[in-house]
């Protein structure tokens, strides 16, 4: 089984490599041979109807679920064996009910992102506090740093989780429906924030229902997951154009066929 991707142009290992991944639970297989590659600096939208296996794929990538077959590499090693580098996957979960009474400030929550990097027994130092403060600044929550986390609105909570992921200094950012369940203003802020991160070269995999809702963020690829199979849609970003000034151009050039005319819509792994 070959991986239907182009040879990488750089020597850097891909941020994420999926090769014929099979995964599932006791009641059956959910992912049926998923292959894809997310290169350093790329931003990918993971799309698919409910029940298509999106959350299973995210679990495999995050190392929460051991695949039944195939190969998963995050930053060059299997997610369950990343060990000390594992904290480099920044993860922003879907907005959900959290324990609002939990005794933590917004700053404390963002500081949780440092746990993996610090390692066991070590306490956060001045540098960690600086990184957390910067992360809160980036998501626009610096002024609320000392507020109890539970007092934030839904959109603000989502951004606090984003700050936690940024505090991880992630080499790959995984976001699960970052725009779901938040109001227009927060959606816009999220789109701008992610767009900034893209400009900084942070590779991202974003599970989303609707790519438009994250504008002005533009994607390099759309991964469509249907019934446990993945097809890749390359978005043709105009070369040399400033990525941030031409989202409209990029979108209008979206096409389902890759650079060399290879059909990349065919389900992977077949």
């Amino acid at each position: 089984m070959t991986v239907p991707v182009f040879a990488p142009l750089t020597l850097e290992p891909p941020s994420l490599l999926l090769a014929d991944v099979v995964a599932g639970y006791d009641h059956g297989v959910v992912l049926n041979g998923v292959s894809a590659r997310l290169q350093a600096g790329q931003v990918v939208a993971l799309m698919g109807p409910n029940g298509s296996g999106k959350s299973t794929l995210l679990k495999v990538i995050l190392g929460l679920l051991e695949p039944l077959g195939g190969r998963v590499e995050v930053l060059g090693s299997a997610p369950t064996r990343l060990d000390r580098r594992r904290h480099q996957i920044g993860y922003v979960p879907q907005l959900r009910d959290v324990d609002r009474a939990f005794p933590a400030t917004v700053f404390d929550l963002a500081m949780m992102g440092r746990v993996g990097r610090l390692g066991l027994f070590r306490r956060p130092g001045a540098r960690d506090r600086e990184i957390v403060a910067r992360a809160l600044e980036q998501v626009g929550l610096r002024a609320l740093a000392d507020r109890p986390f539970g007092a934030l609105s839904g959109g603000q909570q989502q951004r606090a989780f984003m700050a936690r992921a940024l505090a991880q200094e992630p080499a790959l950012l995984v976001l699960d429906e970052p725009a779901a369940g938040v109001d227009e203003e927060h959606r816009e802020r999220t789109g701008r924030l992610l767009s900034d991160l893209r400009a900084q070269g942070v590779p991202m995999l974003i599970a989303t229902h609707d790519i438009e809702e994250l504008e002005p963020l533009i994607f390099d690829e759309h991964w469509h997951l249907v019934k446990g199979r993945l097809s890749v849609d390359v978005v043709d970003v105009v070369p040399n154009a400033d990525r941030h000034e031409s989202p409209a151009v990029a979108h209008s050039h979206r096409q389902s066929v890759g650079l060399l005319g290879l059909d990349r819509r065919s389900p992977s792994g077949t």
Binding site: G63, L64, H87, I89, D99, A143
Partner: protein, 285 residues
């Protein structure tokens, strides 16, 4: 004034009361620190299970003519781990797992005690007798309790993450399962250490009530722990004095004092929330 001071100081002239004071303050600090994470992780009934279940450990120790503490410790830790295992790996839910393990072990304890007929000190184990603390108990409390507190403080940030967001803890490579069992084991150990002072029936109270007091008042975990320690120590000292002067069980008076602290915290946090209610959050953005 002088009599009030005398009421506070006079009991401490006695060596056994000095031991009792040191012992109950040690127990109070230990329970508050461990209790903070017991409450945050929703394991409040684990102490209940271990303490009631430890009756069997005590009975076994007596029958085997071994030091009761020596037998109770592995027994208590084992009970805590068994509860955790049942809750995590089988279809039994946590509350039911506590019910199964504690009832079984308590029944075994009662069976053994009634079979032996004479069980020395049974009352002091059931209801706690801080006045019966031996120097050996104190030494053990200092060493084992200090170790437990040190471990919890060293693993603080991981435990906080585990309590708040276990999924994220796993993503970040925190060894969540070993951590969960470690906390269970430490809780079991804590319960056994505190048995003498508080008694089988009431030992859980000091794990849960001061930490809950802290949670009412604090918005950060370290503050919660600090409030819990203060409330717990106050209760221990006040409870001990009440126990001495009114000749009531030390465990009961300490727990009642901690319940008063909790009630005060309820009122205080309600007031604070009422005054904060009209301040719209996000306005400063």
């Amino acid at each position: 004034m002088e009599t009030a001071l005398g009421w506070l100081i006079e009991p401490l002239a006695q060596p056994f009361m000095q031991r009792a004071l040191v012992g109950s303050i040690g127990v109070a600090i230990l329970c508050a620190v461990v209790g903070t994470f017991v409450v945050l992780l929703g394991l409040a009934f684990i102490g209940e299970g271990v303490s009631h279940g430890s009756l069997a450990g005590l009975a076994l120790g007596f029958i085997l003519k071994l030091d009761l503490l020596l037998v109770s410790i592995p027994f208590g830790i084992g009970l805590a781990l068994a509860i955790g295992y049942l809750a995590e790996r089988t279809r039994t839910r946590f509350d039911a797992a506590v019910g199964v393990v504690f009832a079984t072990s308590a029944a075994l304890g009662i069976a053994l005690i009634t079979a032996v007929r004479v069980f020395p000190d049974l009352n002091s184990y059931l209801f706690g007798n801080v006045l019966a603390i031996r120097p050996l108990d104190l030494a053990f409390l200092g060493i084992a309790g200090g170790l437990v507190i040190a471990l919890i403080l060293l693993l603080q940030k991981e435990l906080i993450l585990l309590a708040f967001d276990p999924e994220m803890a796993r993503v970040m490579g925190v060894p969540t399962r070993p951590l969960y069992y470690l906390l269970l084991g430490l809780t079991g150990l804590t319960v056994v250490i505190c048995l003498r002072t508080l008694g089988v029936i009431l030992v859980t109270a000091l794990l849960v009530i001061p930490a809950s007091t802290g949670r009412q008042l604090a918005v950060r975990v370290p503050t919660m722990m600090l409030v819990a320690v203060v409330a717990s120590c106050l209760s221990a000292v006040a409870g001990l004095l009440l126990s001495y002067h009114f000749n009531i069980s030390s465990g009961a008076s300490i727990v009642l004092c901690s319940a008063v602290c909790f009630a005060v915290s309820l009122v205080a946090s309600r007031r604070r929330r009422a005054s904060a209610r009209f301040e719209p959050i996000g306005a400063s953005e």
